[in-house]
């Protein structure tokens, strides 16, 4: 891992103008990813995690747009590039793996044709060399008998194998960053474990950076190095995965961990966070979590908290503000 980040996202804002006002699915999000690192973006539906991924790769549906912040890849600013330049970066430097493998595969072309096409778009290889590379890629992602399976159509593969093909397609141009958006949500647990192991191995062997977008805390724990917990378009907490998950600081992360059932550990009543994530049209003033937070103080209802270092992570919560330290102590003392 080098010291300069491969990807640097700072104060990213994504806005969707609608006739009832402007929606902000992503609101001042900032994070860094280093080569060979797996960063998890975790959050519930509507947290803006997928939108972050789309913003980085430059694929936000109209009329949505990046209205603030910057995205740097390898030191180059990429959020304001013309579409033609961005298209070359997409695929070559950043690749994407989606939840449903069928959306990324052309049903009318064999897997080999699609791989060779992608390889030759980005790399100066002859047809034969590209085919050899395609077979090597399929072998690398664990498709048995790759040399014969290369001429099969997507529907002739099982769900897990299809996702492997999509990953090989993402790897075809040797990208520096892979954004994987819920890559295993549609798969069975046993297959999910296989795909996650594959992603980890590729990341280690090739030094590719991965942004893993998921709602599954278990997947985050087992796969990622660092994690950003998103809530209503903002980062609530970001830091090393072990830190964030085993000693969460933000009340939302605390609640999320406590409400996740587990196959091990105690069997007491699942704790729950009251209410649900606010609608984008009605994000409360101040901290977006204030309506559901049991520890909310007056500051939470007035001002948006910013990320501050807490216990080795960064947390956006007024309870960790020095001025409110005293109050925080009283509240945690009373609730325990």
């Amino acid at each position: 891992m080098s010291d300069t980040p491969l990807l640097k996202v700072s104060d990213l804002i994504v806005e969707f103008p609608t006739r009832n006002g402007v929606l902000r699915p992503v609101d001042r999000v900032g994070f860094e990813v280093r080569a060979g690192e797996i960063l998890g973006l975790v959050g519930e539906s509507g947290a803006g995690k997928s939108m972050c991924g789309s913003a980085i790769i430059g694929l936000i549906d109209r009329p949505g747009r990046i209205s603030g912040g910057e995205i740097h890849l390898d030191g180059e600013r990429i959020d304001n590039l013309p579409e033609e330049r961005m298209r070359r970066i997409r695929g070559k430097k950043i690749a994407m793996v989606f939840q449903d493998p069928l959306t990324s595969l052309n049903p009318l072309m064999t897997v080999g044709q699609q791989l060779i096409q992608t390889i030759r778009t980005h790399l100066p290889l002859s047809q034969n060399d590209a085919r050899a590379k395609a077979i090597a890629l399929l072998e690398e992602v664990g498709i048995p008998a790759a040399a014969t399976r290369i001429d099969a159509y997507p529907h002739q593969f099982s769900g897990g194998m299809r996702q492997r093909v999509v990953i090989s397609l993402a790897l075809a141009a040797e990208p520096e960053l892979i954004i994987a958006d819920e890559p295993t949500t549609a798969l069975d647990v046993s297959v999910q474990a296989q795909i996650m192991a594959l992603l980890k191995r590729l990341c280690r062997e090739r030094g590719t950076a991965v942004i893993l977008i998921t709602h599954d805390m278990g997947v985050i724990a087992e796969t990622t190095d660092r994690v950003a917990v998103l809530y209503a378009g903002r980062i609530a907490e970001i830091g090393p995965t072990r830190n964030v998950l085993s000693a969460p600081s933000h009340p939302y992360t605390v609640g999320l961990m406590a409400s996740t059932p587990s196959t091990t550990g105690s069997l007491q009543t699942l704790s729950q966070i009251p209410g649900s994530m606010p609608n984008l049209r009605a994000i409360p003033k101040g901290c977006a979590f204030n309506q559901r937070c049991t520890k909310a103080i007056s500051a939470c209802f007035n001002d948006i908290p910013v990320l501050e270092p807490v216990n080795g992570s960064e947390v956006a919560c007024w309870l960790y503000d020095p001025a409110y330290k005293q109050i925080e102590k009283e509240i945690s003392g009373a609730s325990e």
Binding site: S45, A221, R242, L245, L256
Partner: protein, 331 residues
């Protein structure tokens, strides 16, 4: 098994689907008919007031079993006994309807399970009207009561389903299931479409209702951690067969079938940082051409010749607390 008489019993339940192509296509391609055995001789009992859970991956037949138990689908073989009575053998329409009132279902999708054109008040009130449980003038009062019971406001009854979040819709679905005062509810992946923080609300609500109303649940899920939280007894399904049935503690402390062990190992753990799960090779086979012998043998690490040839019978362990269909299981 507890000593109670079971409220629900599945007796060598089987479901076979005809998945052949249309007659003409079949003739032209010279193909024979093809059948899919979705559920294969499944036996279990659910005592009154308890939760029995079915866990399995895609193609395991868990939803088909749920549909057969609530009477949405006729079993190809075997019986579903409700209080000792075979639902599909009842000929009298009145008695059949009376039996329907006692069993209800909560579905997976909080979006497709509520009619988008109906007001919530009508959705919840419909079972009451259909079973003629009370005079029409009292229905609204009962609906308000049900809404309150699932944590919604009376005024929510005037709204349409699209005005609610996924979790709230699932509460509406629960209220509708409760409207006919059932004794038994089949819950088919009721929280798999919900976010974690909302999932725990719904699971806790279902547990509270079970305690207060003495409900019996058949809980269907692919998520072992949810099942561990909800179930008293668990059946593990693989390709339509129950490979292991055990009470909760027995199953999680000592999983006996290799497939159960694999499921537990493959499920991601929130406290297993950086762990790489032991990789099980292969995927679930085509349910139309199941492997011979034990269906799990191509993926099992312990496979012997016997597993390839001979279908394992169900054997009891730990004084009947666990039933396992595996040749190699010893304790």
């Amino acid at each position: 098994m507890t000593g109670d008489t079971p409220l629900i019993s599945a007796r060598s339940l089987g479901a076979v689907f005809d998945v052949s192509k249309p007659w003409l296509n079949r003739m032209l391609a010279m193909e024979s008919k093809r059948f899919l055995t979705a559920v294969d001789t499944v036996d279990f009992d659910i005592p009154k007031g308890k939760t029995f859970a079915l866990v399995g991956e895609s193609g395991s037949g868990k939803s088909t079993i749920g549909r057969m138990i609530v009477g949405l689908q006729k079993p190809t073989s075997g019986q579903v006994l409700i209080d000792g009575e075979d639902f599909f053998a009842i000929k009298d329409q009145k008695r059949k309807l009376a039996m329907r009132r006692r069993i209800q279902m909560i579905f997976q999708s909080p979006y497709a399970s509520l009619n988008p054109r109906w007001r919530v008040r009508h959705i919840i009130g419909e079972p009451i009207r259909a079973f003629e449980l009370m005079p029409a003038s009292e229905v609204d009062k009962r609906v308000a009561e049900l809404l309150d019971q699932v944590g919604l406001a009376k005024s929510d009854g005037e709204k349409f389903p699209h005005e609610f979040s996924g979790g709230q819709r699932q509460r509406i679905a629960i209220a509708r299931a409760l409207a006919s005062n059932p004794e038994f509810i089949v819950c088919d992946e009721p929280t798999s479409a919900l976010d974690v923080s909302v999932q725990s609300q719904v699971l806790n609500l279902m547990k509270t209702l079970q305690r207060e109303l003495g409900l019996t649940y058949l809980f269907i899920s692919h998520d072992l951690s949810v099942i561990r939280y909800m179930a008293d007894e668990i059946g593990v399904l693989y390709l339509g067969r129950l490979v292991e049935v055990a009470d909760r503690d027995s199953l999680f402390e000592n999983p006996r079938h290799p497939y159960t062990r694999m499921l537990m190992d493959a499920a991601p753990h929130i406290d297993a940082f950086g762990r790489t799960a032991e990789i099980v090779s292969g995927e679930i086979p085509d349910p139309i051409n199941k492997p011979s012998g034990c269906s799990f043998h191509p993926r099992c690490t312990l496979t012997e010749d016997r597993c390839r040839q001979e279908r394992p019978a169900v054997r009891e362990f730990d004084n009947g607390k666990a039933k396992v269909a595996c040749h190699l299981c010893t304790a």
